[in-house]
């Protein structure tokens, strides 16, 4: 019910916003097209109707599952987005994987041995991770690893292989070498977040009574850390990673632009620049849906991780 309301509000906002920003025809039309051509184009794209009527046409078609055709590509907007989705998903999941792989162990170490030199180094590094701008880091990565050292390719997506009828590039070696740099770029911010969250969570739970009791009982430090402490710090980490995943899938515009990665982020920023309204509307509505699903998944994970939530629900 609430999600339906959000969807409607989002579509209204986009229509009004695009109308306020400018005129798609002025941007798309060739400069030496004459007025007759302009009229024809305006009619072809349905922009001659008053705004409220355009919105009603859109709603009518949306209820039948048709979110409109892109002004620029003349393909159904949903098809355009779905075509690009595998590339963005690869990048998003790749960066999430990296952030957990690197962030969790480092954060755990920094929490368990807070006063060692390495811990202090890790924390300082995490500050760099969320203060350096993604744009700059991406270009630096390209300059160092592609131009100077020549170890990795500079831009673009690599060779793909078919799985379930979709082209994925992580299945090929060449594809993986192309994913590496943009995934690192995208994951830096998340690594820093995960490190700090994990460390704070560890420091907090280490002081809890049940940890002292477990150690008093004689459990090995390994079991104390990885069974008891670990599970209890996961809730904030899962929440943040979930939200970040949603944000990465939806808006990894900068990384995709810098690395010429043919994903959805690049599609949305290009569409905004030329006011390709059908694509903007379709994209934002899909993103709303996606965030709703992710939040649902996070809630389910809570019940798995935290028995208190399960017991509360039962009671």
């Amino acid at each position: 019910m609430q999600s339906g309301f959000v969807l409607v509000a989002m579509s209204l906002l986009v229509f009004l916003g695009v109308y306020a920003v400018g005129d798609p025809i002025e941007i798309l039309i060739s400069p030496d097209a004459d007025q007759i051509e302009k009229e024809r184009a305006i009619r072809a794209l349905g922009l001659d109707l008053p705004l409220w009527q355009q919105y009603l046409v859109f709603v009518g078609k949306a209820l039948q599952g048709d979110l409109g055709r892109s002004f620029v590509f003349n393909e159904p907007a949903i098809q355009l987005i779905l075509q690009r989705m595998p590339a963005t998903l690869e990048l998003a999941f790749g960066s999430m994987f990296l952030s957990i792989l690197i962030g969790l162990p480092l954060g755990l170490y920094a929490g368990l041995r807070p006063n060692s030199a390495l811990s202090k180094g890790i924390m300082a590094g995490s500050i760099l991770g969320f203060s350096l701008p993604t744009f700059w880091v991406g270009l630096m990565l390209i300059m160092v690893f592609a131009v100077q050292l020549g170890w990795l390719p500079s831009t673009g997506r690599g060779d793909t292989a078919l799985l379930f009828g979709i082209h994925w590039s992580f299945l090929t070696r060449d594809g993986l070498s192309h994913i590496l740099l943009p995934a690192i770029n995208l994951s830096l911010f998340k690594i820093s977040l995960v490190i700090r969250l994990t460390r704070a969570g560890v420091r907090e739970t280490m002081l809890m009574d049940y940890v002292k009791f477990a150690r008093a009982k004689g459990l090995s430090p390994f079991r104390v850390t990885f069974v008891h402490v670990f599970k209890n710090i996961m809730i904030p980490v899962v929440t943040v990673v979930g939200l970040e995943l949603g944000g990465t899938i939806a808006f990894s515009v900068v990384t995709e632009s810098v690395f010429a990665w043919p994903g959805m982020g690049k599609l949305i920023i290009d569409s905004i620049n030329v006011l390709d309204r059908p694509v903007i509307v379709a994209y934002l509505m899909m993103i709303v849906l996606m965030f709703i699903i992710i939040n649902l998944a996070v809630d389910i994970l809570y019940t798995v991780l935290d028995p208190r939530v399960r017991l509360e629900a039962k009671a």
């Binding site: 030496d32 007025q35 051509e37 184009a41 072809a44 002004f71 810098v258 620049n273």
Partner: protein
């Protein structure tokens, strides 16, 4: 031993095969492979590799025989085109005059086109297929520009493309033409893969395979060139020019292009102009820009050499007229306006503005190279002669809508010419007239009826020499009256790795045919 030799030979041939692939990276994405869908330069470049035209234009904008071997006006309102025999489409179908008729009928029918090519076929009232290799077009009155207009239209095959949709072109199924390359794969917004078509009638391209990549981020594109991932890039960012010129791995190809950057002025209002006030901020009763002395002062205050050498880093040439040299009806012996701040102040005083006034100069900030920096420089130059200027740069999507509605007093904008003197006159200087289809980009609303009458007469003059003289006179008139203030012509620059040479084009199109391996490698 034989095994070693065989392996060596294989390696050599592989290396040779590798040398047969060209990777290009372009800065503007191709949105569709349907050659009639959207009149957009990147789309025209991609279509130029796969499809053919009746009339081709070479790197300098000169018209050359393409699918048509010759053409002439057999009557004042009829053009006859004699077509090239033995041309085949990529799928083996023969090219005939009937395909041309089909193509011109399809062009106005392409659905949902944001900017169609219909304007080019509108002057044609009747098409007559005389025989499979001869076709006649009847126009609405004498129309000397028909060959140039046809150099924009790509030809399709009736049997293959009878019901082709834009999506079928984009997926590659219908991307079948008479051009030098055949489509292998199209990844929308990412890359186009092509291979050489051995049945091409013209000069065979140097490369057997082409990967045409789209990298819109400037720095990433330059980095890809330096890393060796791509061989040629276009739209070289001016900030990188100095570095690339001195880099031994890279060579640059440059040519003065057809695009002119100019300032539009508000001619439509006789009373107050929206962004002009006196020095105390009160609106001025009459629009100062209607006085030609004020306009000339504004032009004299601009130091074009400083802009082209410092702001554009040498990648532009000051302009005294609309078109670069070598185009039809280029005005000879006309230099760019010299920088003369004293003269500007004198003219302003003569016109009744000894203390100057305030104005706002608008412009885009993400459309032309250094656009926001150019208007900042001009703002300072104008302020120095007493016209206190505020500068406002906006993103193109907001700017162009407002400019089209004539909301500004002065604004910076560019214009990509066709290499013919009538083109800027028709679109930028003529009175806006929906019926005639003129003045559609005349955002300052300049209107001079006498000039329009002269232009109409010139547009009906089939004799090239007479028409050129008339167009030159009309351009002089418009330039003297400062309908717009020309600033500079952009230089089109391509950067390539050593081992590749690029023939630069005046129309900015990046096509694989322009690239050859460098001699003596």
């Amino acid at each position: 031993m034989r095994l070693v030799l065989a392996a060596f030979g294989l390696a050599l041939s592989l290396a040779g095969a590798q040398a047969q692939t060209l990777t290009m990276a372009v800065g503007a994405p191709v949105t569709s492979l349907d050659p009639h869908f959207h009149q957009l330069s990147p789309n025209n470049a991609a279509a130029g590799m796969i499809f053919g035209k009746l009339v081709e234009d070479d790197a300098n904008g000169v018209l050359r025989p393409g699918l048509a071997l010759s053409w002439s006006a057999v009557a004042p309102d009829t053009w006859e085109f004699r077509l090239r025999p033995d041309v085949r489409f990529h799928n083996g179908n023969a090219f005939t005059a009937d395909d041309v008729a089909f193509t011109f009928a399809r062009i106005p029918q392409v659905p949902n086109s944001p900017s169609s090519f219909a304007g080019f076929v509108r002057p044609i009232t009747r098409i007559e297929v005389v025989d499979p290799l001869t076709i006649r077009f009847t126009t609405n009155g004498p129309y000397p520009l028909l060959p140039m207009d046809l150099s924009n239209l790509f030809i399709l095959d009736r049997e293959t493309h009878a019901n082709a949709t834009t999506e079928q072109f984009n997926s590659g199924a219908m991307a079948i033409g008479t051009g030098p390359f055949r489509l292998v794969r199209h990844a929308n917004g990412d890359r186009i893969e092509l291979e050489r078509y051995d049945g091409y009638y013209g000069e065979a391209p140097a490369f057997a395979r082409v990967v045409y990549r789209m990298i819109t981020n400037d720095s990433a594109r330059t980095a890809a060139l330096l890393a060796g991932d791509v061989d040629v890039i276009d739209q070289v960012p001016t900030a990188d020019l100095a570095r690339l010129r001195s880099d031994a791995r890279v060579s640059l190809s440059e040519i003065m292009g057809l695009r002119i950057i100019f300032l539009g002025l508000d001619h439509g209002r006789n009373d107050a102009s929206p962004f002009i006030t006196d020095n105390e901020g009160r609106p001025i009763a009459r629009n100062p820009l209607k006085d030609v002395r004020v306009r000339r002062a504004l032009s004299m205050a601009i130091d074009r050499n400083a802009i082209t050498s410092r702001v554009m880093e040498g990648s532009a040439t000051p302009a005294g007229q609309y078109l670069p040299p070598g185009t039809f009806a280029y005005v000879p012996d006309l230099a760019a306006q010299a920088h003369d701040p004293e003269g500007a102040r004198r003219l302003l005083a003569e016109a009744g503005f000894p203390q100057g006034f305030r104005i706002t100069l608008h412009g885009p900030n993400d459309r032309y190279p250094n656009d926001s920096r150019i208007i900042q420089a001009i703002g300072q130059m104008w302020t120095r002669v007493g016209i206190r200027t505020t500068v406002e740069a906006q993103t193109w999507s907001t700017f162009i809508g407002r400019a089209a509605r004539a909301e500004f007093s002065s604004f910076l904008v560019g214009w990509g010419n066709n290499p013919d003197g009538s083109h800027p006159l028709r679109n930028l200087i003529a009175c806006p007239s929906p019926e005639r289809g003129w003045g559609n980009s005349n955002r300052g609303r300049y209107c001079n009826e006498a000039l329009d009458q002269g232009l109409m007469a010139a547009m009906r003059e089939l004799d090239n020499g007479a028409r050129a003289a008339q167009l030159i006179a009309l351009q002089r008139q418009a330039l003297d009256d400062l309908a717009i203030i020309p600033l500079h012509n952009q230089t089109n620059i391509w950067a390539s790795r050593r081992g590749f040479t690029v023939t630069p084009r005046v129309d900015e199109l990046s096509m694989a045919q322009s690239v050859r391996p460098a001699a003596g490698r």
